[in-house]
Amino acid sequence: MSRRTALILMVAALVVALAAPLALRLMPRSPQTHVINFTAQRYGYTPARITVNQGDKVVLKPTSKDVTHGFLLDGYDVDAILKQQGVTYLKYLWTDDQGKAHTDWDKVKLIEFTADKAGKFTYRCTQTCGNLHPFMVGELIVQDNTPYHFAVSLSLWIVFGLLLWTGVGGWRPPSSKRIDLLSRFSWFKRLVKARSFQFWLLLINLVIFYLFILSALWGSPVGNRNIAIIFVWIFWWTALKAVMLPLGGRVWCLMCPLPAPAEWLVRMRLTSVRYLKEPLRRLHHRFLGLNLDWPKRLANGWLQNTLFLVLISFGIILITRPVATAILFLFILAATLVLSLIYRGRTFCRFLCPVGGFLGTYSMAACSELRPVDTEVCKKHRDKCCLVGGEGGWACPWGRYTGGLKRNNYCGLCTECIKSCPKDNVSIFLRPFGSDLRLKGYDEAFNVLIMLMVAFVFSVTMLGPWLWIKQAANVTESRHLVPFLLYVGSVLSLAMIVFPGLLFGASWLGRRWSGIDVSFKETTLRLTYVFIPLGIFAWIAFSLPQVMINYNYVLAVLSDPLGLGWNLLGTAYLPFDPLWPRSIPYIQGVLLLSGLYLGLRRGLAALGPAAPTPAASLKAMLPTALLTLLVVNVFLRLYMA
């Protein structure tokens, strides 16, 4: 098949993909009235999902089983307060003679509206009703859900088009263009060359961190009223996933305050370098403590993967209880201190930090990198100051030889090598998304798979409407151990057995079918790369709506950071008012489709030299592409239908 034919086929398929959802709308339907007994309780609604056809009338008979709850329906301007025994207040708007709008509440028995807009609409609790209040939601599906049908047919089209284009060998080899930021912006170079650069970033964040800990321990125990919860788990998490990671890779590690006190302590310096002329077991520094090296057997990502899964099991508790958050951070702080006194370098960050694990694998796709300007200069330079330390900078705390850096994974961007290199041969570069293509071991591959599955599990648990899943996960409040263990068991088996099993199967099939001449492990590692861009975009799709929905809580806690009833900025009592909630399913759909495209596209590049011909590359990728399509459609169904 020629490329021309392939292009024509792709355009034809696009027309079909766009026409199919519209054709579905032609099915005739007659409007109905749905009378529904509607119950709110901590932390969900019954029914959790209401499915109607466009034009139908919905009549809810609302009541609350326990405390006062809210009911705010995205896109429909229905805002009610639900109390026990059916006492319901419905908000309405009216305009006075001057044209000024007023709101008022009316005591009602029924909530009635006509479902005249199609799509998915979430109803949310507006009254702080307990720990999991921010996740108390239900869903109204108004058929035909054309946006969702579009997303599904486009996902099919993307996979079809990509594979077709691969089959005809249409892709050009990936570009290796990069922009040297330090030589281009001299102010930036002066900034990162300054010895105190990292110190100030760390100090500022450490002060903020200290205040967060105070607030978490002594502030409001209500999660959405505590700055530690709101800032860390909603604001920081989203900023990390949606901004820092895709653009700056591990740039968070540059400014993470948790290991800072330990590092300052063992270096016995805040900004300057203590340089030893004679190296002590390779490094030109003597640190406070035992100066041991991390055991080789543990020098991989499995501890991080394990710790991450442990934290995730308690995820919903961790991110809704200020005290749990504080204990976690203080524990990490203590761990960094102890480990630093025993081992040299950032052993906690490198081998234990659960966040560090996925920052490592995901930073492979980041649009920036720290690399030598010219590797030849590094090869000829005998001292390797970046690795062992120089007069201008500390030895790499991450144990890296900058001259050999090919991937972002284990570079914490601390900028010491930029300062220690006497040849001025280290810089920070901008590069295309998804440039580091090779995963090196099963520990990294599993990290990628775990992250994707956790994005799925969190989406189900936190953003989904299912009361029983929230109750199972929220064990410290519901106090039922068996459902919790079942929940954790399913999460673990999904992340460690089911999904890896599916991928291994797809990899085995692809390898057999294409007959490519690389080992099974190598094939699997290369194919796993697909789930790095997809994972990043799935996490953005999970995180971004949190900020859009809860931004008023962010403003409120800024005004009252310690939960003491202050109102510094006048925003402490802002009502719950999501930002463009109607657009959230659309944004999530676009993000997931972008993730699908970029995942497969970069995955094909990762397969690259292993599959020498277009046909081999197509055959090797096909089973994994179908698995990816399945994953994306599971997410689409979760977010859009």
Binding site: Q85, W94, D106, K107
Partner: protein, 222 residues
């Protein structure tokens, strides 16, 4: 024409107006168009200087029910002298009280299944509250004469309000005599309005009220 047929014809002509229902002698009907309400239902319209007639309240039954932490109805208009019962049909105890001038009382806490009666012998607005549940509220409007009406879901009313009178079992309300009357409105969230109306001997006068949001006033000046 046979005499019998003629007789039937005349009888039919005589009976037609009363049997035709609504448009009988002495009626005022109309519409209330309120500003800033979700629904125009439940606005009181009354004749402040209507004829004070002796009413037969022997079969009357006025009930302010308490169910699901709510008083039902929210607005209960009654004539002076009405005996209103306050049954507790809820699952929890209630304590109904009023601090209003027209009738001050406090029924104390009483259990589900119990009922207490209160007689309202002074005209005026009585705001009911429950000492246990601060969100519970209702109004009893005590009126000097039976010529009052509550608007329906479309904002329509008719005085006398035959449906309301029948529901409350008030008997012996004569048709509204021909004459000039002062009509007033009352709603918790609306500023009261008034209109001079001439009730015709037959048929009905038609009045439209456009009400604004504002503090509600008293029913009668003292």
């Amino acid at each position: 024409m046979p005499r019998k047929t003629l007789f039937a014809f005349i009888l039919a002509l005589l009976l037609a107006p009363p049997l035709a229902g609504g448009a009988s002698a002495g009626q005022i009907k109309g519409t209330v168009k309120p500003q800033g309400l979700r629904s125009p239902e439940g606005v009181l319209v009354y004749l402040s200087n209507g004829p004070e007639v002796m009413l037969d309240l022997s079969g009357a039954k006025f009930v302010m029910d308490q169910r699901q932490l709510t008083f039902i109805p929210y607005v209960l208009p009654v004539p002076v002298g009405a005996k209103v019962s306050f049954p507790n049909n809820d699952k929890v105890a209630h304590n109904v009280f009023s601090l209003s001038q027209a009738k001050k009382f406090n029924l104390g806490s009483y259990k589900p299944g119990q009922s207490i009666e209160v007689t309202f012998d002074q005209p005026g607005v009585v705001e009911l509250r429950c000492d246990v549940h601060q969100e519970m509220k209702a109004y009893i409007l005590v009126l000097k004469n039976p010529y009052y009406a509550l608007t329906d879901a479309q904002g329509n009313f008719a005085i006398p309000d035959s449906k309301l009178l029948a529901a409350h079992g008030i008997k012996g309300v004569p048709p509204l005599p021909e004459g000039k009357y002062l009509m007033k409105t009352w709603h918790e969230k609306l500023r009261g309005d008034r209109a001079k109306v001439e009730a015709p001997a037959t048929g009905a006068a038609d009045v439209t009220f456009r009400l604004k949001r504002g503090p509600s006033g008293v029913l009668y000046k003292r």
